[in-house]
Subunit: 429 residues, 2 copies
């Protein structure tokens, strides 16, 4: 399979970020040529990009995709109350009927494809159904084990680690647990044993609110990052989701252990959790990547919104415009995500890399005039500018049409039915 994306502008993310004119050749799932010279192949597919922009797909490095059923449902409360009183009871019902997770994940994947997200680092239960959804639609999924109380154990995630790292080329699996405030030593000590046996990274919700940070200090006598590091959980890397309350000590530890901070501005600002000091994190050389979090706390899974919001909440925090540069924000949304996951093959658009590519319409009123294309992607572009989403060399979305081998209206309808069923059960309880 040889595909030619010709007559394009191409976003090059190197030491600097620039835009060049040229074409991209994809053989099977990899970029084999990029630039002005096009080899004389007989192409199976040729797309004329008409001077629109090709760039790497967005890497959503914190997601709970199956939580689409809670979009617009869990509408109130500060994090702890919202989580324990609204989210967990609804999830308990879903997990009983875990095959429903397939459809709810598929709904989220369709939303990703429309907004240029080509990978989700998906923290949820029942990995079997997340993996099935990703494989069937052709989406790239990195599933994160999620130990929490009765929901999954260190033994289970160890077995899942083997199973889902050998399931499909689009699917992989990493070790994770919900949070230090929902997992005691009965979970974390055996989990650390698994981590050090497999020599593998770990990810978790971390330092999301002042409340949880203070609780950990009281309970453990340490701040959350130190608590987990001392347990040996981060001996082989990984990272934390949110990291809102990180202070200098937390950041120094993250730098020392080469851990990633995954920031979720949409969720953190909606739940009023706060804004981390990412200027400091970047200056220290910590890898920072971006996540939408789940639709229960964010409602929309939209990296254009997340990028702009990331920028402006950092500005408000620091009382300084351009606290992060637009180049930093583009990196955070793309190649830094690949670095978080140690998936260097997915980072930028260059020869040898896997073809997870999106095309952005530069002939739309919100993108014109063209003054500074990389800057305008961060501050002016939106989902409606996504013309194409390609994953693993396959075009899954093109000019408002899905090409996922399934009737999307069926997915919409089933997702509504599943949601209505869960709500009915919740009312009974």
């Amino acid at each position: 399979m040889k595909t030619l994306l010709k007559n394009a502008k191409i976003l090059v993310i190197d030491k600097n970020i620039s835009v060049i004119n040229g074409s991209i050749v994809i053989e099977n799932n990899r970029i084999t040529h990029l630039g002005k010279a096009i080899p004389k192949f007989r192409f199976d597919k040729i797309i004329n990009c008409k001077q629109n922009l090709l760039m790497p797909g967005f890497k959503n490095t914190h997601a709970h995709t199956p939580m689409t059923f809670l979009r617009g449902y869990a509408t109130s409360g500060q994090l702890q109350e919202w989580l324990f009183e609204t989210v967990f009871p609804a999830e308990d019902i879903l997990i009983e009927q875990s095959e429903d997770i397939e459809i709810l994940t598929k709904l989220g994947i369709l939303e990703y494809l429309k907004s240029g997200i080509t990978l989700a680092f998906d923290m949820y239960y029942a990995p079997k159904y997340i993996a099935k959804a990703a494989k069937e639609l052709g989406f790239r999924s990195v599933i994160l084990g999620t130990i929490q109380g009765e929901r999954q154990s260190p033994e289970e995630v160890k077995a899942d680690f083997d199973e889902f790292n050998n399931y499909d080329s689009l699917v992989s699996y990493k070790l994770g647990f919900h949070a230090e405030y929902t997992c005691g030593p009965d979970i974390l000590v055996p989990l650390s044993k698994v981590v050090n046996e497999l020599k593998t990274p770990v990810f978790t919700h971390l330092s999301e609110t002042e409340h949880e940070t203070n609780d950990c200090l009281k309970r453990e006598g340490k701040r959350p990052p130190k608590h987990l590091i001392d347990l040996g959980l981060f001996n082989y890397g990984g990272g934390g989701f949110h990291c809102v309350t990180f202070n200098d000590e937390d950041m120094a530890l993250f730098k020392k252990h080469q851990l990633s901070m995954i920031t979720c501005p949409g969720s953190n600002s909606k739940l009023a959790s706060g804004t981390p000091n990412l200027r400091k994190a970047l200056d220290l050389g910590i890898n920072v990547s971006l996540g939408t979090d789940g639709p229960a706390s964010n409602d929309a899974l939209d990296f254009f919104y997340e990028m702009r919001l990331l920028s402006v909440v950092q500005n408000l925090r620091a009382k300084t415009p351009n606290t992060l540069s637009h180049e930093e924000i583009l990196r955070i949304a793309t190649i830094n995500g690949a670095r978080t996951l140690n998936m260097n093959d997915l980072s930028d658009l260059s020869v040898g890399k896997i073809a997870d590519i999106i095309m952005i319409d530069l002939h739309a009123p919100n993108m014109l005039p063209l003054n500074n294309i990389p800057y305008q992607i961060v501050y002016a572009a939106s989902k409606d500018n996504i013309l194409m989403t390609m994953i693993d060399g396959k075009i899954l979305y093109y000019k408002n049409r899905f090409n996922v081998g399934e009737n999307v209206n069926h997915i919409y309808k089933k997702a509504q039915q599943i949601t209505d069923k869960i709500k009915k059960k919740l009312k009974k309880n």
Copy 2:
């Protein structure tokens, strides 16, 4: 001309906000029937809405639409530096060639139509070309005179007031001046005379930053709202754009004089100006409406972004989720805008009102499942869900196609040429 929008969900903004099933009949430019019963007319146009949502168009109550040429251009600096060093010199060149304002406005109007904005309260120079652009494309424009130094005088805006309030049913004109920090008593005293002669509201940039508020205190011995009220400028109503630094005293004055606060979260957070206390303003009963500000400080003219951002920056400011309710935000984006402008005919969807209506796709992955439609419009919807934009009973945008009587590619091309020309001149200077 009789139009039927049938088989719809309709957002009703009453004491509460609700969604009903039904149809809307439009005769010429007004809604004449709304509900389940459809009169037996011979309709000129029938649209089957297929259970998608009809709601009032968004009212953009602070805009500088012709500044599209500065999108992605003026990329740095805090407000004062950004304004005087980047924006004003570029504008000086544009104003010399003021017929170019027509195309730059048209570009912005196309962006509005794609994102469901049906009215812009447009503060800029050369009203002739803004009015021409609005009339020719069928867009609703309320032009705001903009006195500032050599750019327009109280006599000119008085003449413009007469001319553009008698120009076209889609166009109207109000009195305004740039800001108290760019207009001294030589401008404001004669302007106040005009205001009190015409007995008409006035609008201005107000209390946007701490810096300008402190300067006014030093210079005038009063905070900006009191300074302007004492000059008699607000004797017949009006309002302020931004109002970021408003304290209790400022709000009490705005309440007493029935003035509107027009908030611009996108611009205020990008420029790191801050976040006003809108919880307090709403509790006092002050009318609050929403604006994008211009593309120089905001880059995208997108009310979905503004609504979500409005919500979350208020949450971060108050450290409380749901500081504003989703109903309040929907009002701020729609009917409160009509109130700011005293244009009650444009407020909600009810019989007798002018048909400025948008249709939102409820069959898209980011909008499903439907749990709470009004909530999901604020937190999940985006521009790509806009199926239709109708202004004054005419459909100007429908399913990704413009119907504005002009070749939009021509507008795109001309806007780029104008921008390139201005940048070339700027480099020479």
